[in-house]
């Protein structure tokens, strides 16, 4: 494979590229879907291809193909350089890259039960078992759907400057969605677990306890009432805090949005943007983190990036281009979904650092508010700084106590106002896994933090 990588880079340079990077990937994938006691779907297969990016005359161009035929690769290298040169004619400003050291490394994330080797039967039984545990919990559960996913990815990243990295990563994930029905009411709850490892992770995973907790919540939500709407004091659990940190702050700290002047945090380095209780990291080095990676897709070593230090904006996430433009150091922020996509500036594991409040203290001071847990995702308009996140679970807080369950509800706000409205940060901490979507690419990302209290937040209920 190394020969092929050399060949592609060599062709690109010979056609006139000043710089080129290439990734070749082979990805074994499995997806199993079980509905109740029946297997609904089993998809297995192998994806294999290459993505080449070149810089010629100060313009970028990218080609990808899922064929490794040498003649085709030669043709693609030529057309890629040609496109870059064409594009250069119409560019307002030439691209320059920050210097980095070359890296040679061979990284294999260890796994004893590799996803592409483990028997399909074993995987199928995990999914069927989880579904059974979920339904056994309560007769009101009318559907349990389990999705079991895994991949085994072998990737080579190489640059014309001499970087050559082989990176092998196993990933396994499981999702459970439970639906409950009672007297015309419908409710659902879902959760997922992800491991950067093979199936050995399942040896110490309490599937039964996990499934039951999800079922319990779905049943509990049958009694949920519509949430109030308007401005309240809210408490976000670590999952929701993580999503807020990722969506509202992390995205706004991405170097591409800063260079393009799209982000609300453009030109704000060194300024106070949040309460002094707020410290936020994007940490690619977090042990076993879902979004952890040692090198990014430009072959640059990653790091633990401090973005907000006690309320002061101190850092951005950069790739080699944005680092050059901003006069900063590249910090390993370039990631691509797979060989079909070029690397773009992305987060890894984004979290708020814990403070010193206990959960009980936070709740006890609230007369009327909402406790929001978990997240089905969120979205942000980085230009306006408007964010929205949907909680998976919500409860009313009345006179310092958590009372009734509430129907699906979201939190929305303006990032800069909300960061200043955080008046308590918990001493607990949790990091969880998710997929971050940007520019049509999804990459594994970790999000986390402690319980956090926000005053004057907008809750979008239907009451």
């Amino acid at each position: 494979m190394n020969d092929l990588v050399e060949y592609i880079l060599d062709r690109a340079i010979s056609y006139g590229a000043s710089y080129a990077d290439v990734r070749i990937e082979q990805i074994y994938t499995t997806q199993i879907v079980v509905t109740n006691d029946r297997i609904e779907r089993v998809n297995v297969g192998v994806r294999r291809g290459m993505g080449l990016r070149v810089l010629a005359d100060g313009a970028y161009s990218f080609v990808s193909a899922n064929s490794l035929d040498k003649d085709l690769l030669d043709r693609l290298a030529r057309s890629c350089v040609k496109s870059a040169k064409l594009s250069s004619l119409f560019k307002r400003e030439k691209i320059q890259l920050a210097e980095v050291k070359c890296v040679r490394d061979d990284l294999v994330v260890p796994s004893t039960e590799k996803p592409h080797v483990v028997d399909l039967d074993f995987k199928k039984n995990i999914a069927l078992e989880v579904s059974k545990f979920a339904r056994a919990f309560d007769s009101r559960i009318v559907n349990s759907t389990v999705r079991l996913l895994d991949e085994y990815r072998e990737k080579i990243i190489a640059t014309s400057e001499g970087t050559l990295i082989r990176y092998v990563t196993p990933r396994t994930r499981i999702f459970l969605i439970v639906t409950a029905f009672e007297a015309g009411h419908i409710s659902s709850h879902m959760d997922g677990e992800s491991f950067v490892s093979g199936y050995e992770a399942y040896r110490k995973f309490d599937l039964e306890g996990w499934a039951k907790r999800i079922s319990e919540k779905a049943v509990k939500m049958l009694k949920a009432e519509p949430a109030p709407s308007g401005r309240f004091t809210v408490i976000a659990d670590p999952d929701l805090t993580g999503v807020f940190t990722h969506e509202a702050v992390g995205h706004a700290c991405e170097g591409d949005g800063i260079v393009a002047k799209e982000s609300i945090l453009t030109n704000m380095l060194g300024e106070r943007i949040g309460s002094e209780l707020v410290t936020i990291y994007d940490d690619s080095t977090y042990p076993n983190g879902w979004g952890s990676l040692k090198y990014d897709d430009e072959g640059v070593p990653t790091e633990k990036r401090l973005l907000i230090d006690e309320g002061i904006l101190v850092g951005y996430i950069n790739d080699r281009y944005t680092a050059f433009k901003l006069g900063m150091k590249p910090n390993g922020g370039a990631r691509a979904q797979d060989y079909m996509h070029p690397p773009i500036v992305r987060m890894s594991n984004t979290y708020m650092a814990p403070g010193d409040w206990s959960f009980e203290e936070m709740v006890s001071e609230i007369k009327y508010g909402v406790y929001l847990l978990g997240s089905r995702g969120g979205q942000v308009d980085t230009a306006k700084g408007t964010f929205q996140f949907n909680a998976k679970e919500a409860y009313l807080i009345e006179n310092g106590e958590i009372t009734k369950p509430l129907l699906d509800v979201s939190l929305s706000g303006l990032t800069l106002e909300t960061l200043k409205s955080i008046d308590a940060v918990g001493k607990d901490f949790k990091l969880r896994s998710g997929t971050c979507g940007k520019g049509g690419q999804g990459v594994p990302a970790g999000t986390g933090g402690p319980h956090v209290r926000i005053v004057n937040a907008v809750v979008g209920g239907r009451r």
Partner: protein, 444 residues
């Protein structure tokens, strides 16, 4: 490609499968990306692969590959058989569909799109940046892309089916950020067409700039119950994250849908019709047959507010002993799933857009929604932020709204539609006018 598919089918039969289906696709995507007032990158993606589905001892097996060598096809067929063995006999599966005459669909392949040169696209992109910056000095950042796709789909099975068709499409998007007096606002426009000549890049730019500028004078409002006008793009965002998956037979049969037991029942206001039309000329999801080779036909989904049909693929139809409605969709790397083709919403109560707004005493025009994908597709509950909204009082548009949320349930929303606007637009796979809806909850 058809040769490869036939080879796979022969191999499958040879290894003991009772029926074999092979699906293949190939595509070329070319994209010019704009960011920070400049061309960011040019991308070209070639992709192809095949998915093999077969029946072995009554069980369904599936596997895919992107490597079309004989060796890899052989491995993939064997893999599909091993999957079928593990799954065991399926009680509902009867047969893959038989080949039947397929209709003609107008306007799904245009030379103009396929032959649109990359350097032309780069020029257009640069022009869009200049146009947007010239349009208004408050414009600070222009982003977007121009995308051109061409592809071919192949489907064959051991019952003698051998179909294929070519298609092409083009899209353009513009995202503008403008700033004034410390406030910033964004404006977004998107156009997706089969024929690239139908996209007016300049006007797209002008519209996006206007949207961004219009929002620079935003003000806070007081929340409460009010009337809402959902513009077509907001309708599309809400529908694609609720109704579109709730109406599929797999979710209904598995009770993962708020439309369970709603067939022949009133699910929307009496004047509402929803038609699924895979034959619509130049429709973005138009096609002569679906991903299993079932001939396309128009289907009435909702008529006068009454749910008339769910959407089926072959498997889900056989489970109820009926014919597939032709709604299988897939890429080569997965088994078919069910989704709408083009959805056309119309009504017996249609009014001009101006008349819709004149009916609002106090309310919001909502054009863009943030977080529509977090809607609960099982229950239909949603709680989203208003990305672009305008406050209306006594039938007059007052100003753009600084921050607001809309919370509700899609069935409740459908029931409270008052009228549909005649400002009909094609947005992605949805054709609709604006919806005037009474009594919605806005928080601010």
């Amino acid at each position: 490609m058809m040769d490869v598919l036939n080879k796979a089918i022969k191999l499958g039969l040879k290894y003991g499968a009772s029926q074999v289906e092979a699906y293949g696709s190939s595509s070329l995507n070319r994209i010019v990306e704009i960011e920070g007032n400049d061309i960011k990158t040019v991308r070209e993606r070639m992709s192809r692969g095949i998915g093999i589905r077969l029946i072995y001892s009554g069980g369904i097996g599936f596997a895919y590959t992107e490597n079309l060598s004989e060796e890899s096809i052989d491995y993939t067929v064997k893999k599909a058989i091993s999957v079928a063995k593990i799954r065991g006999p399926d009680p509902y599966f009867k047969s893959f569909p038989e080949p039947k005459p397929i209709p003609r669909v107008e306007g799904i392949y245009f030379n103009s799109t396929v032959e649109f040169e990359l350097d032309e696209a780069i020029k257009v992109a640069r022009n869009m940046v200049e146009k947007a910056l010239e349009e208004d000095p408050r414009v600070k950042s222009v982003a977007g892309n121009i995308s051109l796709s061409a592809g071919e789909v192949y489907i064959a099975n051991s019952l003698g089916m051998e179909f294929n068709y070519r298609s092409a499409s083009a899209s353009a998007s513009v995202f503008i950020v403008s700033k004034d007096k410390g406030l910033s606002a964004s404006g977004f426009e998107l156009k997706h067409e089969r024929d690239v000549r139908k996209i007016d890049f300049d006007s797209l730019c002008r519209k996006a700039v206007k949207r961004s500028i219009d929002q620079l004078n935003s003000k806070r409002i007081t929340g409460g119950r009010m009337w809402v006008v959902l513009n077509p793009i907001a309708v599309m965002l809400l529908f694609s994250n609720t109704f579109n998956s709730a109406v599929t037979a797999d979710n209904v049969q598995e009770k993962r849908s708020f439309l369970v037991n709603k067939l022949e029942k009133e699910i929307a206001f009496r004047g509402l019709n929803i038609i699924d039309d895979p034959l619509m000329p130049e429709g973005i999801n138009s096609r002569p047959f679906d991903a299993e080779g079932v001939a396309s036909r128009r289907l009435t989904v909702v008529e006068n507010g009454i749910l008339k049909s769910y959407l089926y693929d072959t498997y889900r139809a056989q489970r109820e002993g009926i014919e597939s409605t032709g709604h299988a969709s897939r890429g080569y790397s997965s088994e078919p799933s069910i989704s709408p083709s083009n959805l056309i919403i119309n009504s017996t109560y249609e009014k001009s857009y101006e008349d819709l707004i004149s009916e609002v005493d106090r309310g919001l025009i909502i054009r863009w929604i943030i977080g529509a994908h977090t809607a609960n597709i099982i229950t239909g509950e949603f709680s989203v932020a208003v990305g672009e909204g305008y406050y209306v009082e006594n039938g007059e548009i007052k100003y753009s709204v600084r921050q607001a949320m809309l919370g509700g349930n899609i069935l409740d929303l459908l029931a409270k539609i008052v009228a549909l606007g005649r400002d009909r637009e094609k947005i992605g796979n949805l054709v609709t006018g604006s919806m005037l809806i009474r009594d919605q909850v806005i928080s601010a």
